[in-house]
Subunit: 510 residues, 2 copies
Amino acid sequence: MTNQAVDQSIEKALASFKELDEKITHLSSIAALIGWDQKVIAPKKGRSTFANASGTLSTEIFKLSVSSEMGGLLDILSTPEAAAQLDDISKAQVREHKENYDRSKKIPTDLYKEYAVLTAQANDVWEAARANNDFGSYQPFLEKIVEFKRKVAEIYGYEKHPYDALLNEFEPGLTVEKLDPLFAKLRESSVALLKRIQASPNQPLVSIFEQNYNVEKQREFNKYILPIIGFDTEGGRLDETAHPFAQTINTGDVRLTTRYLEDNVRSAIFGTIHEAGHGIYEQNIDEKYEGTVLQSGSSFGVHESQSRFLENMVARSESFWKYFYTTLQTYFPEQLNAVKLEDFYRAVNAVEPSLIRVEADELTYNLHIMVRYEIEKALIGGEIEVKDLPEVWNKKMEDYLGITPETDSVGVLQDIHWSFGGFGYFPSYSLGNLYAAQILNKIQQDLPDFYETIEKGEFGKIQGWLKDKIHQHGKFLTPNELIVNATGEELNAQYLVDYLEEKYSKVYGL
Amino acid sequence: MTNQAVDQSIEKALASFKELDEKITHLSSIAALIGWDQKVIAPKKGRSTFANASGTLSTEIFKLSVSSEMGGLLDILSTPEAAAQLDDISKAQVREHKENYDRSKKIPTDLYKEYAVLTAQANDVWEAARANNDFGSYQPFLEKIVEFKRKVAEIYGYEKHPYDALLNEFEPGLTVEKLDPLFAKLRESSVALLKRIQASPNQPLVSIFEQNYNVEKQREFNKYILPIIGFDTEGGRLDETAHPFAQTINTGDVRLTTRYLEDNVRSAIFGTIHEAGHGIYEQNIDEKYEGTVLQSGSSFGVHESQSRFLENMVARSESFWKYFYTTLQTYFPEQLNAVKLEDFYRAVNAVEPSLIRVEADELTYNLHIMVRYEIEKALIGGEIEVKDLPEVWNKKMEDYLGITPETDSVGVLQDIHWSFGGFGYFPSYSLGNLYAAQILNKIQQDLPDFYETIEKGEFGKIQGWLKDKIHQHGKFLTPNELIVNATGEELNAQYLVDYLEEKYSKVYGL
């Protein structure tokens, strides 16, 4: 072929590829919407029937993304000739589809089907096992899942540690080698800090949250803060579900959910703000990525950094409550008029080691993740076996948090993740905290009046910075590119360590 | 081929056909859900982007239903050999897809694309023309649409009148020859009855509705009546939109909307009940049709019969208000405590000729339809041209309703239907009334205590009869089969004529 003929065939392939990408993206956007609908508002009676329809759509999307058409186009568009000719956005689109295509194609169909059946069963078994505190009944299923995941790691391939192959699905480019020192540093400093906090005589009064807080008033307060902190309420919704989440349909339609507890005013406020962090990210992705695979966040970890940044670095700051506390008091005068701002601020930052991850505070949360990370790594690496889990779990909880679960239900059985094979997922949560603290450090250099603007209830400059450095780029930049681009260096655990030290020194007068 | 080989190939084709039907039905159910979402709850900002995603799905559904695969399967399954072998349900599935396939295939792709662009433009032009009372700007677009529709009628083919080809899309099997005498009888008797009503000294007091009715209380009342009249609220929802409608996702998920007007308590009540009539129909379709093309109503006219039956024959009866009126009074004591039941009943049945179809009462509504039916028939038949419409419209309004629009905005320009080419649609509304009256006659023979049960607020027997005779059959029976099956005879206008005569004699003391 002449060079011109090559160019033409690349150009033609690119046009077909973009059309296919758009079709997959459109159908995925529909899948997102119907998923939201069935979780949030669909009447129960129709859900099992609709699940068949949803299944048909998911199958269609999967088929398109691993079709021979996709394979052929990726072959053409991954050549050095193509690389020389494609613009950066096209290259990123090819990168994303190629990763997905290669991964999916590597797993033999039979093995995948077997696994789908296994995880469907395992989910039910896990639910029952947790309810009955019966790890034994779950063990054989989890063994098969781990066996499958070990196989998958071999099939995907890795350089140094098999767990890398799984980490990579959630945080492209991340490895045990990179993560180990980051997490070790965070774990050691957190365990030490926790001990000092527990020894402090200045304990905040968390009982102020455990009064009766009218749900309708909570609803109003949550709806009041959302647009102020930067969530575009005209391009989204806030609904209610037992398990809060954020779901993007497109950049003009981002849906959050929260949960109101009459006896816990904290839960909804920080839950809503957390989901808003995810939502604002998606609302601010550049429109030029609309209708492409790049119209979403860079990775699970980066996404979590945006929810944690808003929830913890912003909304658990004293400045935040200097602005919002008097309003909260007007909503709940009986409950809060006698509580001073400083006491309220200290209470929202209280540290209390607990058995359950999803109820953990900002400091101990990471220790819950360390327990899971170390177990997953050792399981996939073959250093421990499923039968050892309850013992290993309890030992680590004691070592890091100083408490031991009395039952497996509130121990090793508490999370759903393993039952669907989500190995490699947990680290994202702490990565989010690490990214967030590094971003906090950088944003304060760029916006020296960072806390002053929060204190005035002005979030425009902060959200502008986040949009510019993080949000707008969607999936165009990889997580590592993004954090280097935004902060000037690769992920560095020192920022989170320093942030936690500083915050808790203040809160607990250490 | 041997007989056995034929049988096998039919069996194989049938399996593939059913799979394809299920896929189309599943994707259509998803299209229904996302259509509902975008109309009812999606934030405005995301809608135009999402329209692209919706478009991708619609295109996919259309492609499947006219695919060469579908064509080939229908060829095999439409042979006499196949007919002898298929069960009745399979035959009905083939019938529905074949009609749709043949119709779609007959229109050349270029012509169809041209038409899609034309109607998209025409819709905007119509909106502006109505706002500006400017028929002239709409005329050239409507002329092209009529020209297209005349062409389509020729392409589809017909025996006697070209309009038959269009009627058939909405009411399979219906012709001008059948419809003309039915509508003539209804029109003549309605015009005469209207004159007698207008001459009556016993006019009901409709001003009772035009007080201030708190919207929240209206909401409660509407939600209160829904389950009582037979709508399964666990298998559906009631939301609010400017233009009320019913949308089925599946038989376990049927969504209604209504509209609350502070100064008009009637509007929501009868609007909700009307949509509930549509909804109950869909909730009661036999589960065996789930996931097939037969999981919907028999025709537009039959669907409308169920909404009209519940709205007019049931909810505008004196018995209905004997049960519900005291409750309504407890919701609105200030407005209604001084109004006697009889006066309320007479007021909900007030007849007031008005210019706008969607605001018309039970009697004059049909006259609005006659105006449109006669115009459509003459337009498609080439007896009148688009330029004549304003004059013809106003003349007919004067002849049938005794009032003449002062502007085209409240005359010939009021309806959206022609701008999207919906010729043949309007008759469905009056067909609904005709079917409903015939059903009322029969149901009273089968359930002599029909009104007594309504008076007690017991709707189980009535809904049971409707389910048995109408609802459960879905699209399995054609409209004509269904009405003969339910009432023992073909559509007969005398029932509606008698019903109207009897009702208004009572209401107006004629």
